[in-house]
Amino acid sequence: MTAIPVVARTPARPALERLTNAIWDTIDVSGRNLRSLTRNPQALIFATIQPMIFVLLFRYAFGGAIKVPGVSYVDFLMPGVFAQSVAFGAIGTAVGLSADLRSGLLVRFRTLPMSRIAVLAGRTLADLARNLVVVAVMLGVGYAVGFRSPAGATALLAALGLVIAFAYALSWAFTALGLRVSDPEAAQGAGVPVVFLLVFTSSAFVPSADMPGWLQAFGTHQPVNALVVAERALIFGQPAAHDVLISLAWSGGLLLAFAALSLRVYTRMNR
Protein backbone atom coordinates (compact mmCIF):
# COMPACT_ATOMS: atom_id res chain seq x y z
CA MET A 1 0.00 0.00 0.00
CA THR A 2 1.47 3.31 -0.99
CA ALA A 3 1.24 5.98 1.61
CA ILE A 4 -1.10 8.89 1.05
CA PRO A 5 1.02 11.88 0.15
CA VAL A 6 1.23 14.36 2.97
CA VAL A 7 0.03 17.69 1.73
CA ALA A 8 0.83 20.81 3.66
CA ARG A 9 -2.21 22.62 4.94
CA THR A 10 -3.20 25.43 2.61
CA PRO A 11 -2.44 28.80 4.12
CA ALA A 12 -5.59 30.57 5.24
CA ARG A 13 -7.07 32.84 2.64
CA PRO A 14 -6.61 36.53 3.27
CA ALA A 15 -8.99 37.78 5.91
CA LEU A 16 -10.57 40.33 3.58
CA GLU A 17 -11.41 37.74 0.94
CA ARG A 18 -12.92 35.48 3.56
CA LEU A 19 -15.02 38.33 4.88
CA THR A 20 -16.25 39.29 1.41
CA ASN A 21 -17.13 35.67 0.69
CA ALA A 22 -18.95 35.37 4.01
CA ILE A 23 -21.00 38.48 3.26
CA TRP A 24 -21.97 37.35 -0.24
CA ASP A 25 -22.85 33.88 1.01
CA THR A 26 -24.95 35.38 3.79
CA ILE A 27 -26.82 37.50 1.27
CA ASP A 28 -27.40 34.48 -0.99
CA VAL A 29 -28.59 32.26 1.86
CA SER A 30 -30.91 34.92 3.26
CA GLY A 31 -32.23 35.60 -0.24
CA ARG A 32 -33.07 31.92 -0.47
CA ASN A 33 -34.82 31.96 2.90
CA LEU A 34 -36.82 35.08 2.06
CA ARG A 35 -37.94 33.53 -1.21
CA SER A 36 -38.97 30.39 0.67
CA LEU A 37 -40.96 32.60 3.01
CA THR A 38 -42.88 34.34 0.24
CA ARG A 39 -43.66 30.96 -1.40
CA ASN A 40 -44.97 29.66 1.88
CA PRO A 41 -47.01 32.56 3.20
CA GLN A 42 -48.94 30.51 5.77
CA ALA A 43 -46.00 30.74 8.14
CA LEU A 44 -46.05 34.53 7.95
CA ILE A 45 -49.81 34.67 8.27
CA PHE A 46 -49.82 32.47 11.36
CA ALA A 47 -46.98 34.52 12.82
CA THR A 48 -49.22 37.60 12.71
CA ILE A 49 -52.57 36.00 13.52
CA GLN A 50 -51.54 34.85 16.97
CA PRO A 51 -50.44 38.27 18.27
CA MET A 52 -53.45 39.82 16.56
CA ILE A 53 -55.74 37.59 18.58
CA PHE A 54 -53.86 38.59 21.70
CA VAL A 55 -54.38 42.27 20.87
CA LEU A 56 -58.11 41.74 20.48
CA LEU A 57 -58.40 39.52 23.57
CA PHE A 58 -56.48 41.82 25.85
CA ARG A 59 -57.78 45.05 24.41
CA TYR A 60 -61.45 44.05 24.60
CA ALA A 61 -61.96 40.86 26.64
CA PHE A 62 -59.48 41.05 29.54
CA GLY A 63 -58.32 44.65 29.29
CA GLY A 64 -61.24 46.01 31.24
CA ALA A 65 -60.22 43.92 34.25
CA ILE A 66 -56.57 44.95 34.20
CA LYS A 67 -55.95 48.28 35.81
CA VAL A 68 -52.73 50.11 35.03
CA PRO A 69 -52.67 53.33 37.03
CA GLY A 70 -52.28 56.50 35.04
CA VAL A 71 -52.15 55.15 31.50
CA SER A 72 -54.55 53.82 28.91
CA TYR A 73 -54.36 50.01 28.80
CA VAL A 74 -53.94 49.82 25.04
CA ASP A 75 -50.79 51.95 25.26
CA PHE A 76 -49.55 49.65 28.03
CA LEU A 77 -50.48 46.56 26.02
CA MET A 78 -48.86 47.20 22.64
CA PRO A 79 -45.20 47.23 23.77
CA GLY A 80 -45.94 43.81 25.27
CA VAL A 81 -47.51 42.62 22.03
CA PHE A 82 -44.47 43.72 19.99
CA ALA A 83 -42.20 41.74 22.31
CA GLN A 84 -44.56 38.77 22.23
CA SER A 85 -44.81 38.65 18.44
CA VAL A 86 -41.04 38.67 17.86
CA ALA A 87 -40.44 36.22 20.72
CA PHE A 88 -42.84 33.70 19.21
CA GLY A 89 -41.51 34.52 15.73
CA ALA A 90 -38.01 33.53 16.81
CA ILE A 91 -39.17 29.92 17.13
CA GLY A 92 -39.47 30.02 13.33
CA THR A 93 -35.68 30.25 13.11
CA ALA A 94 -35.31 26.93 14.94
CA VAL A 95 -38.08 25.31 12.91
CA GLY A 96 -36.57 26.44 9.59
CA LEU A 97 -33.06 25.32 10.45
CA SER A 98 -34.12 21.93 11.71
CA ALA A 99 -36.12 21.47 8.49
CA ASP A 100 -32.93 22.19 6.49
CA LEU A 101 -31.08 19.79 8.73
CA ARG A 102 -33.58 17.03 8.14
CA SER A 103 -33.85 17.57 4.39
CA GLY A 104 -30.11 17.10 4.00
CA LEU A 105 -29.57 20.66 2.78
CA LEU A 106 -27.18 21.41 5.65
CA VAL A 107 -25.10 18.36 4.71
CA ARG A 108 -24.90 19.69 1.16
CA PHE A 109 -23.90 23.13 2.47
CA ARG A 110 -21.12 21.48 4.49
CA THR A 111 -19.66 20.01 1.31
CA LEU A 112 -19.68 23.34 -0.56
CA PRO A 113 -16.73 25.72 -0.55
CA MET A 114 -18.92 28.33 1.15
CA SER A 115 -18.57 30.29 4.37
CA ARG A 116 -19.66 28.31 7.44
CA ILE A 117 -21.25 31.17 9.34
CA ALA A 118 -23.23 32.31 6.28
CA VAL A 119 -25.57 29.32 6.67
CA LEU A 120 -26.62 30.66 10.08
CA ALA A 121 -26.23 34.37 9.45
CA GLY A 122 -28.30 34.09 6.27
CA ARG A 123 -31.08 32.39 8.21
CA THR A 124 -31.15 34.98 11.01
CA LEU A 125 -30.95 37.86 8.53
CA ALA A 126 -34.00 36.56 6.65
CA ASP A 127 -35.82 36.09 9.95
CA LEU A 128 -34.96 39.67 10.84
CA ALA A 129 -36.76 40.79 7.70
CA ARG A 130 -39.71 38.57 8.62
CA ASN A 131 -39.81 40.14 12.09
CA LEU A 132 -39.83 43.63 10.57
CA VAL A 133 -42.93 42.69 8.59
CA VAL A 134 -44.63 41.18 11.65
CA VAL A 135 -43.84 44.24 13.78
CA ALA A 136 -45.13 46.57 11.05
CA VAL A 137 -48.38 44.59 10.85
CA MET A 138 -48.79 44.67 14.63
CA LEU A 139 -48.17 48.40 14.62
CA GLY A 140 -51.04 48.79 12.15
CA VAL A 141 -53.27 46.54 14.25
CA GLY A 142 -52.38 48.53 17.37
CA TYR A 143 -53.18 51.77 15.64
CA ALA A 144 -56.55 50.37 14.58
CA VAL A 145 -57.49 49.53 18.18
CA GLY A 146 -56.48 52.93 19.50
CA PHE A 147 -52.78 52.66 20.33
CA ARG A 148 -50.99 56.01 20.14
CA SER A 149 -47.46 56.56 21.40
CA PRO A 150 -47.91 59.23 24.09
CA ALA A 151 -44.31 60.45 23.67
CA GLY A 152 -44.53 60.66 19.89
CA ALA A 153 -43.18 58.96 16.81
CA THR A 154 -39.46 59.22 17.59
CA ALA A 155 -39.90 57.51 20.94
CA LEU A 156 -41.99 54.83 19.24
CA LEU A 157 -39.34 54.21 16.59
CA ALA A 158 -36.66 53.93 19.26
CA ALA A 159 -38.82 51.40 21.10
CA LEU A 160 -39.34 49.39 17.93
CA GLY A 161 -35.57 49.49 17.36
CA LEU A 162 -35.15 47.75 20.73
CA VAL A 163 -37.75 45.19 19.68
CA ILE A 164 -35.88 44.41 16.48
CA ALA A 165 -32.52 44.19 18.26
CA PHE A 166 -34.05 41.72 20.71
CA ALA A 167 -35.70 39.79 17.88
CA TYR A 168 -32.36 39.37 16.13
CA ALA A 169 -30.56 38.24 19.28
CA LEU A 170 -33.31 35.76 20.18
CA SER A 171 -33.26 34.32 16.69
CA TRP A 172 -29.61 33.34 17.30
CA ALA A 173 -30.65 31.60 20.50
CA PHE A 174 -33.15 29.60 18.45
CA THR A 175 -30.49 28.93 15.82
CA ALA A 176 -28.59 26.93 18.42
CA LEU A 177 -31.79 25.11 19.35
CA GLY A 178 -32.68 24.34 15.73
CA LEU A 179 -29.29 22.71 15.19
CA ARG A 180 -29.64 20.48 18.24
CA VAL A 181 -33.09 19.00 17.75
CA SER A 182 -34.00 16.20 15.40
CA ASP A 183 -36.88 17.72 13.45
CA PRO A 184 -39.09 20.81 13.02
CA GLU A 185 -41.78 19.44 15.33
CA ALA A 186 -39.25 19.02 18.12
CA ALA A 187 -37.98 22.57 17.49
CA GLN A 188 -41.51 23.88 17.83
CA GLY A 189 -42.16 21.76 20.90
CA ALA A 190 -38.98 22.87 22.64
CA GLY A 191 -39.32 26.53 21.68
CA VAL A 192 -42.92 27.27 22.62
CA PRO A 193 -42.69 26.59 26.39
CA VAL A 194 -39.55 28.71 26.73
CA VAL A 195 -41.13 31.65 24.95
CA PHE A 196 -44.40 31.19 26.82
CA LEU A 197 -42.58 31.30 30.12
CA LEU A 198 -40.61 34.41 29.20
CA VAL A 199 -43.57 36.32 27.75
CA PHE A 200 -46.19 35.51 30.39
CA THR A 201 -44.01 36.00 33.45
CA SER A 202 -42.98 39.40 32.08
CA SER A 203 -45.12 42.49 32.36
CA ALA A 204 -46.10 42.20 28.68
CA PHE A 205 -49.83 41.96 29.44
CA VAL A 206 -50.19 42.47 33.19
CA PRO A 207 -48.21 44.79 35.51
CA SER A 208 -45.56 42.84 37.43
CA ALA A 209 -46.74 44.48 40.66
CA ASP A 210 -49.88 42.31 40.50
CA MET A 211 -47.83 39.07 40.53
CA PRO A 212 -46.74 37.15 43.63
CA GLY A 213 -43.22 37.97 44.83
CA TRP A 214 -41.50 34.76 43.73
CA LEU A 215 -42.88 35.14 40.23
CA GLN A 216 -41.92 38.80 40.13
CA ALA A 217 -38.38 37.86 41.05
CA PHE A 218 -38.07 35.73 37.92
CA GLY A 219 -40.38 37.75 35.72
CA THR A 220 -38.63 41.04 36.18
CA HIS A 221 -35.12 39.67 35.65
CA GLN A 222 -35.37 38.29 32.15
CA PRO A 223 -34.89 39.73 28.66
CA VAL A 224 -38.52 39.94 27.51
CA ASN A 225 -39.44 41.95 30.58
CA ALA A 226 -36.38 44.16 30.18
CA LEU A 227 -37.49 44.87 26.62
CA VAL A 228 -41.09 45.64 27.54
CA VAL A 229 -40.04 47.93 30.41
CA ALA A 230 -37.64 49.85 28.16
CA GLU A 231 -40.22 50.18 25.38
CA ARG A 232 -42.75 51.60 27.83
CA ALA A 233 -40.26 54.02 29.34
CA LEU A 234 -39.63 55.38 25.84
CA ILE A 235 -43.27 55.43 24.73
CA PHE A 236 -44.51 57.08 27.92
CA GLY A 237 -41.72 59.67 27.81
CA GLN A 238 -40.18 58.62 31.11
CA PRO A 239 -36.44 58.68 31.83
CA ALA A 240 -35.46 55.66 29.72
CA ALA A 241 -31.66 55.54 29.49
CA HIS A 242 -31.23 52.94 32.24
CA ASP A 243 -33.95 50.60 31.00
CA VAL A 244 -32.82 50.96 27.39
CA LEU A 245 -29.28 50.03 28.38
CA ILE A 246 -30.44 46.98 30.27
CA SER A 247 -32.48 45.79 27.31
CA LEU A 248 -29.62 46.41 24.90
CA ALA A 249 -27.25 44.60 27.25
CA TRP A 250 -29.59 41.57 27.26
CA SER A 251 -29.83 41.61 23.47
CA GLY A 252 -26.10 42.10 22.98
CA GLY A 253 -25.27 39.38 25.50
CA LEU A 254 -27.74 36.91 24.01
CA LEU A 255 -26.45 37.69 20.53
CA LEU A 256 -22.79 37.16 21.37
CA ALA A 257 -23.33 34.07 23.49
CA PHE A 258 -25.70 32.31 21.12
CA ALA A 259 -23.97 33.30 17.88
CA ALA A 260 -20.77 31.80 19.28
CA LEU A 261 -22.59 28.71 20.53
CA SER A 262 -24.49 28.23 17.26
CA LEU A 263 -21.35 28.52 15.16
CA ARG A 264 -19.61 26.04 17.42
CA VAL A 265 -22.49 23.60 17.20
CA TYR A 266 -22.62 23.99 13.42
CA THR A 267 -18.91 23.53 12.80
CA ARG A 268 -18.89 20.49 15.10
CA MET A 269 -21.77 18.80 13.37
CA ASN A 270 -19.19 16.93 11.31
CA ARG A 271 -18.12 14.93 14.36
Partner: protein
Protein backbone atom coordinates in the same frame (compact mmCIF):
# COMPACT_ATOMS: atom_id res chain seq x y z
CA UNK B 1 -2.34 14.37 -12.03
CA UNK B 2 -2.79 11.88 -9.25
CA UNK B 3 -3.11 8.27 -10.21
CA UNK B 4 -5.81 7.91 -7.57
CA UNK B 5 -8.46 10.60 -7.28
CA UNK B 6 -9.59 9.25 -3.93
CA UNK B 7 -7.47 7.48 -1.34
CA UNK B 8 -8.51 6.41 2.14
CA UNK B 9 -6.33 4.62 4.60
CA UNK B 10 -7.47 3.01 7.83
CA UNK B 11 -10.54 5.23 8.26
CA UNK B 12 -12.23 4.84 11.60
CA UNK B 13 -15.43 6.44 12.82
CA UNK B 14 -17.72 5.69 15.73
CA UNK B 15 -21.05 7.22 16.68
CA UNK B 16 -21.21 6.77 20.42
CA UNK B 17 -20.74 3.07 21.00
CA UNK B 18 -21.59 2.12 17.41
CA UNK B 19 -18.56 1.54 15.21
CA UNK B 20 -19.37 2.71 11.70
CA UNK B 21 -15.92 2.40 10.13
CA UNK B 22 -13.29 0.08 11.45
CA UNK B 23 -10.15 0.69 9.43
CA UNK B 24 -11.51 1.18 5.93
CA UNK B 25 -8.94 1.44 3.14
CA UNK B 26 -9.75 2.09 -0.50
CA UNK B 27 -8.38 3.74 -3.61
CA UNK B 28 -10.30 5.06 -6.58
CA UNK B 29 -8.30 5.48 -9.80
CA UNK B 30 -8.73 8.85 -11.46
CA UNK B 31 -11.44 8.74 -14.11
CA UNK B 32 -13.05 5.51 -12.93
CA UNK B 33 -16.46 4.74 -11.49
CA UNK B 34 -16.28 2.77 -8.27
CA UNK B 35 -19.26 1.38 -6.39
CA UNK B 36 -19.38 0.91 -2.62
CA UNK B 37 -21.67 -2.01 -1.93
CA UNK B 38 -22.93 -3.15 1.40
CA UNK B 39 -26.06 -3.59 3.47
CA UNK B 40 -27.58 -0.89 5.65
CA UNK B 41 -25.28 0.10 8.48
CA UNK B 42 -22.16 -1.25 6.81
CA UNK B 43 -20.58 2.21 6.63
CA UNK B 44 -21.24 3.28 3.04
CA UNK B 45 -22.77 6.63 3.88
CA UNK B 46 -20.20 7.30 6.58
CA UNK B 47 -17.43 6.67 4.06
CA UNK B 48 -18.71 9.09 1.43
CA UNK B 49 -19.57 11.64 4.13
CA UNK B 50 -15.97 11.61 5.34
CA UNK B 51 -14.55 11.73 1.82
CA UNK B 52 -16.80 14.66 0.94
CA UNK B 53 -15.74 16.56 4.12
CA UNK B 54 -19.21 16.46 5.68
CA UNK B 55 -17.94 14.27 8.49
CA UNK B 56 -14.59 14.06 10.27
CA UNK B 57 -12.94 10.68 10.73
CA UNK B 58 -11.90 9.59 14.24
CA UNK B 59 -8.80 7.98 12.80
CA UNK B 60 -7.03 7.19 9.56
CA UNK B 61 -6.51 9.50 6.64
CA UNK B 62 -8.20 10.30 3.39
CA UNK B 63 -7.28 12.46 0.44
CA UNK B 64 -9.11 13.65 -2.65
CA UNK B 65 -6.78 14.53 -5.53
CA UNK B 66 -3.95 14.49 -3.03
CA UNK B 67 -5.65 16.99 -0.70
CA UNK B 68 -6.29 15.87 2.86
CA UNK B 69 -10.03 15.88 3.56
CA UNK B 70 -9.57 17.26 7.07
CA UNK B 71 -6.58 19.61 6.90
CA UNK B 72 -7.38 20.89 3.45
CA UNK B 73 -11.18 20.58 3.50
CA UNK B 74 -11.79 23.94 1.81
CA UNK B 75 -9.80 22.98 -1.29
CA UNK B 76 -11.33 19.50 -1.34
CA UNK B 77 -14.80 21.09 -1.38
CA UNK B 78 -13.93 23.06 -4.49
CA UNK B 79 -13.01 19.83 -6.27
CA UNK B 80 -15.94 17.60 -5.33
CA UNK B 81 -19.63 17.29 -5.97
CA UNK B 82 -21.85 15.50 -3.48
CA UNK B 83 -25.39 14.17 -3.83
CA UNK B 84 -26.73 12.50 -0.72
CA UNK B 85 -29.37 9.87 -0.09
CA UNK B 86 -32.16 12.41 -0.05
CA UNK B 87 -32.63 15.12 -2.63
CA UNK B 88 -31.12 18.06 -0.75
CA UNK B 89 -32.84 20.78 -2.70
CA UNK B 90 -35.14 23.54 -1.46
CA UNK B 91 -38.77 22.63 -2.21
CA UNK B 92 -39.82 26.29 -2.05
CA UNK B 93 -37.43 27.41 -4.78
CA UNK B 94 -37.71 26.69 -8.48
CA UNK B 95 -35.28 24.28 -10.12
CA UNK B 96 -33.44 27.19 -11.66
CA UNK B 97 -33.20 29.08 -8.36
CA UNK B 98 -31.85 25.99 -6.60
CA UNK B 99 -29.07 25.52 -9.13
CA UNK B 100 -28.18 29.21 -9.24
CA UNK B 101 -27.97 29.33 -5.45
CA UNK B 102 -25.71 26.28 -5.24
CA UNK B 103 -23.61 27.71 -8.08
CA UNK B 104 -23.07 30.97 -6.24
CA UNK B 105 -22.27 29.22 -2.99
CA UNK B 106 -19.81 27.04 -4.92
CA UNK B 107 -17.95 30.22 -5.99
CA UNK B 108 -18.75 29.81 -9.65
CA UNK B 109 -19.50 33.52 -9.92
CA UNK B 110 -22.91 35.11 -10.20
CA UNK B 111 -23.30 35.35 -13.96
CA UNK B 112 -21.66 31.97 -14.74
CA UNK B 113 -23.90 30.39 -12.08
CA UNK B 114 -26.97 31.45 -14.05
CA UNK B 115 -25.57 30.19 -17.34
CA UNK B 116 -24.51 26.89 -15.81
CA UNK B 117 -27.95 26.41 -14.22
CA UNK B 118 -29.57 26.90 -17.62
CA UNK B 119 -27.23 24.36 -19.22
CA UNK B 120 -27.71 21.73 -16.50
CA UNK B 121 -31.50 22.09 -16.55
CA UNK B 122 -31.37 21.24 -20.24
CA UNK B 123 -28.96 18.35 -19.83
CA UNK B 124 -31.12 16.80 -17.10
CA UNK B 125 -34.37 17.25 -18.97
CA UNK B 126 -35.69 19.81 -16.51
CA UNK B 127 -35.85 22.73 -18.96
CA UNK B 128 -39.66 22.77 -19.02
CA UNK B 129 -39.89 22.58 -15.23
CA UNK B 130 -37.09 25.09 -14.63
CA UNK B 131 -39.34 27.81 -13.28
CA UNK B 132 -41.69 25.61 -11.30
CA UNK B 133 -41.33 25.18 -7.56
CA UNK B 134 -39.46 22.01 -6.68
CA UNK B 135 -42.19 20.95 -4.23
CA UNK B 136 -44.24 20.09 -7.33
CA UNK B 137 -41.49 17.89 -8.83
CA UNK B 138 -41.68 14.10 -8.92
CA UNK B 139 -39.15 12.06 -6.96
CA UNK B 140 -37.17 11.36 -10.11
CA UNK B 141 -37.05 15.05 -11.08
CA UNK B 142 -35.83 15.97 -7.60
CA UNK B 143 -33.04 13.44 -7.79
CA UNK B 144 -31.98 14.70 -11.19
CA UNK B 145 -31.99 18.26 -9.89
CA UNK B 146 -29.99 17.12 -6.88
CA UNK B 147 -27.42 15.50 -9.15
CA UNK B 148 -27.34 18.65 -11.28
CA UNK B 149 -26.73 20.69 -8.11
CA UNK B 150 -23.70 18.52 -7.38
CA UNK B 151 -22.30 19.37 -10.81
CA UNK B 152 -22.67 23.15 -11.02
CA UNK B 153 -18.99 23.83 -10.40
CA UNK B 154 -17.86 21.03 -12.76
CA UNK B 155 -16.21 18.97 -10.04
CA UNK B 156 -13.66 16.41 -11.25
CA UNK B 157 -14.68 14.08 -8.40
CA UNK B 158 -18.27 13.15 -7.64
CA UNK B 159 -19.78 11.34 -4.63
CA UNK B 160 -23.23 9.81 -4.93
CA UNK B 161 -24.88 8.21 -1.93
CA UNK B 162 -27.51 5.69 -3.06
CA UNK B 163 -28.44 7.86 -6.02
CA UNK B 164 -31.36 5.72 -7.20
CA UNK B 165 -32.85 4.35 -4.00
CA UNK B 166 -36.60 4.81 -4.17
CA UNK B 167 -36.72 5.75 -7.85
CA UNK B 168 -38.96 4.13 -10.46
CA UNK B 169 -37.16 2.14 -13.19
CA UNK B 170 -37.37 4.87 -15.82
CA UNK B 171 -35.92 7.53 -13.52
CA UNK B 172 -33.26 5.06 -12.47
CA UNK B 173 -32.19 4.44 -16.06
CA UNK B 174 -32.11 8.18 -16.77
CA UNK B 175 -29.88 8.72 -13.76
CA UNK B 176 -27.61 5.87 -14.80
CA UNK B 177 -27.29 7.45 -18.24
CA UNK B 178 -26.26 10.74 -16.64
CA UNK B 179 -23.61 9.01 -14.54
CA UNK B 180 -22.28 7.23 -17.64
CA UNK B 181 -22.05 10.56 -19.47
CA UNK B 182 -20.09 12.04 -16.60
CA UNK B 183 -17.75 9.07 -16.52
CA UNK B 184 -17.18 9.35 -20.26
CA UNK B 185 -16.27 13.01 -19.75
CA UNK B 186 -13.59 11.94 -17.28
CA UNK B 187 -15.29 12.52 -13.93
CA UNK B 188 -14.21 10.20 -11.14
CA UNK B 189 -17.31 8.81 -9.44
CA UNK B 190 -17.64 7.03 -6.12
CA UNK B 191 -21.19 5.85 -5.55
CA UNK B 192 -22.82 3.76 -2.88
CA UNK B 193 -25.58 1.35 -3.67
CA UNK B 194 -27.45 -1.62 -2.31
CA UNK B 195 -28.09 -3.01 -5.77
CA UNK B 196 -25.63 -5.29 -7.50
CA UNK B 197 -27.53 -4.57 -10.69
CA UNK B 198 -26.69 -0.89 -10.35
CA UNK B 199 -23.03 -1.60 -9.68
CA UNK B 200 -23.09 -3.89 -12.69
CA UNK B 201 -24.53 -1.21 -14.93
CA UNK B 202 -22.27 1.63 -13.85
CA UNK B 203 -19.06 0.70 -12.18
CA UNK B 204 -15.60 -0.35 -13.25
CA UNK B 205 -14.80 -1.62 -9.82
CA UNK B 206 -16.85 -2.67 -6.79
CA UNK B 207 -15.77 -2.40 -3.18
CA UNK B 208 -17.83 -4.58 -0.88
CA UNK B 209 -17.95 -3.28 2.65
CA UNK B 210 -19.25 -5.02 5.71
CA UNK B 211 -19.09 -3.90 9.33
CA UNK B 212 -17.01 -0.85 8.45
CA UNK B 213 -14.24 -2.63 6.56
CA UNK B 214 -13.57 -3.59 2.99
CA UNK B 215 -14.56 -7.22 2.57
CA UNK B 216 -13.51 -7.54 -1.07
CA UNK B 217 -12.79 -5.60 -4.23
CA UNK B 218 -13.17 -6.51 -7.86
CA UNK B 219 -15.11 -5.89 -11.03
CA UNK B 220 -18.79 -6.80 -10.72
CA UNK B 221 -18.19 -9.82 -12.94
CA UNK B 222 -15.24 -11.05 -10.89
CA UNK B 223 -17.19 -10.78 -7.67
CA UNK B 224 -20.20 -12.61 -8.96
CA UNK B 225 -18.07 -15.35 -10.42
CA UNK B 226 -16.10 -15.64 -7.23
CA UNK B 227 -18.95 -15.61 -4.75
CA UNK B 228 -22.29 -15.73 -6.41
CA UNK B 229 -24.29 -18.81 -7.10
CA UNK B 230 -26.24 -18.87 -10.33
CA UNK B 231 -29.39 -20.94 -10.25
CA UNK B 232 -30.71 -22.38 -13.51
CA UNK B 233 -34.29 -23.57 -13.63
CA UNK B 234 -35.28 -25.93 -16.40
CA UNK B 235 -38.82 -27.06 -17.02
CA UNK B 236 -39.51 -30.20 -19.02
CA UNK B 237 -42.63 -31.53 -20.62
CA UNK B 238 -42.67 -34.64 -18.44
CA UNK B 239 -41.41 -35.46 -14.92
CA UNK B 240 -39.56 -38.46 -16.40
CA UNK B 241 -37.42 -36.09 -18.51
CA UNK B 242 -36.59 -33.98 -15.47
CA UNK B 243 -35.53 -37.03 -13.56
CA UNK B 244 -33.38 -38.27 -16.42
CA UNK B 245 -31.82 -34.81 -16.74
CA UNK B 246 -30.98 -34.64 -13.06
CA UNK B 247 -29.17 -38.00 -13.30
CA UNK B 248 -27.21 -36.92 -16.35
CA UNK B 249 -26.21 -33.63 -14.67
CA UNK B 250 -25.23 -35.30 -11.42
CA UNK B 251 -22.99 -37.62 -13.41
CA UNK B 252 -21.44 -34.58 -15.12
CA UNK B 253 -20.69 -33.00 -11.72
CA UNK B 254 -23.58 -30.49 -11.40
CA UNK B 255 -25.70 -30.03 -8.30
CA UNK B 256 -29.23 -30.64 -9.56
CA UNK B 257 -32.54 -31.36 -7.89
CA UNK B 258 -35.63 -32.43 -9.75
CA UNK B 259 -39.08 -31.46 -8.58
CA UNK B 260 -41.76 -33.09 -10.75
CA UNK B 261 -41.20 -31.69 -14.29
CA UNK B 262 -38.90 -28.90 -12.97
CA UNK B 263 -35.18 -28.95 -12.30
CA UNK B 264 -33.00 -26.57 -10.26
CA UNK B 265 -29.28 -26.53 -10.97
CA UNK B 266 -26.83 -24.50 -8.89
CA UNK B 267 -23.63 -23.31 -10.45
CA UNK B 268 -20.71 -21.62 -8.75
CA UNK B 269 -19.09 -20.67 -12.05
CA UNK B 270 -21.59 -18.07 -13.24
CA UNK B 271 -24.19 -18.08 -15.96
CA UNK B 272 -21.48 -18.99 -18.48
CA UNK B 273 -22.05 -22.59 -17.38
CA UNK B 274 -25.36 -22.70 -19.25
CA UNK B 275 -24.15 -23.91 -22.71
CA UNK B 276 -22.14 -26.71 -21.14
CA UNK B 277 -25.09 -27.68 -19.04
CA UNK B 278 -27.39 -27.82 -22.04
CA UNK B 279 -24.84 -29.83 -24.03
CA UNK B 280 -24.85 -32.42 -21.25
CA UNK B 281 -28.58 -32.80 -21.90
CA UNK B 282 -28.21 -33.22 -25.68
CA UNK B 283 -29.78 -36.65 -25.80
CA UNK B 284 -32.95 -35.60 -23.96
CA UNK B 285 -35.93 -33.69 -25.32
CA UNK B 286 -35.38 -29.91 -25.13
CA UNK B 287 -36.65 -28.26 -21.95
CA UNK B 288 -39.83 -26.21 -22.30
CA UNK B 289 -38.25 -23.22 -20.61
CA UNK B 290 -34.88 -22.24 -19.16
CA UNK B 291 -34.47 -19.59 -16.44
CA UNK B 292 -31.31 -18.06 -15.04
CA UNK B 293 -31.23 -16.33 -11.66
CA UNK B 294 -28.07 -14.26 -11.48
CA UNK B 295 -26.31 -13.95 -8.13
CA UNK B 296 -27.36 -10.98 -6.02
CA UNK B 297 -25.54 -8.78 -3.60
CA UNK B 298 -27.09 -10.88 -0.86
CA UNK B 299 -25.37 -14.00 -2.25
CA UNK B 300 -22.02 -12.23 -2.44
CA UNK B 301 -22.54 -10.69 0.93
CA UNK B 302 -23.60 -13.94 2.53
CA UNK B 303 -20.54 -15.68 1.19
CA UNK B 304 -18.20 -12.91 2.26
CA UNK B 305 -19.46 -12.42 5.77
CA UNK B 306 -21.17 -15.68 6.51
CA UNK B 307 -24.16 -13.85 7.87
CA UNK B 308 -27.42 -12.42 6.73
CA UNK B 309 -27.08 -8.71 5.97
CA UNK B 310 -27.85 -6.81 9.15
CA UNK B 311 -30.54 -4.19 8.74
CA UNK B 312 -29.66 -1.97 11.65
CA UNK B 313 -30.77 1.21 9.95
CA UNK B 314 -28.58 3.86 8.43
CA UNK B 315 -25.65 5.50 10.12
CA UNK B 316 -26.42 9.17 10.69
CA UNK B 317 -24.95 11.29 7.92
Amino acid sequence: MNEFAIEAEGLRKAFGSVTALDGLTLRVPTGSVVGLLGPNGSGKTTTVSILSTALRPDGGRAAVRGLDVVADAARVRAAIGFAGQFAAVDPNLTGRENLTLIGRLSRVGRRPARARAEQLLDVFGLGDAADRLVRGYSGGMRRRLDLAAALVHRPPVLFLDEPTTGLDPESRFQLWESVRDLARAGTTVLLTTQYLEEADALTDQVVIIAAGRVADTGTPRQLKERFGTVVFTLDFAAPADALAASRLLAAAGYQAEADRAGLRVRSDSGSGALPGLLRALDRLPDPVSVGVREPTLDDVFLTLTGQVPASQGGIPA
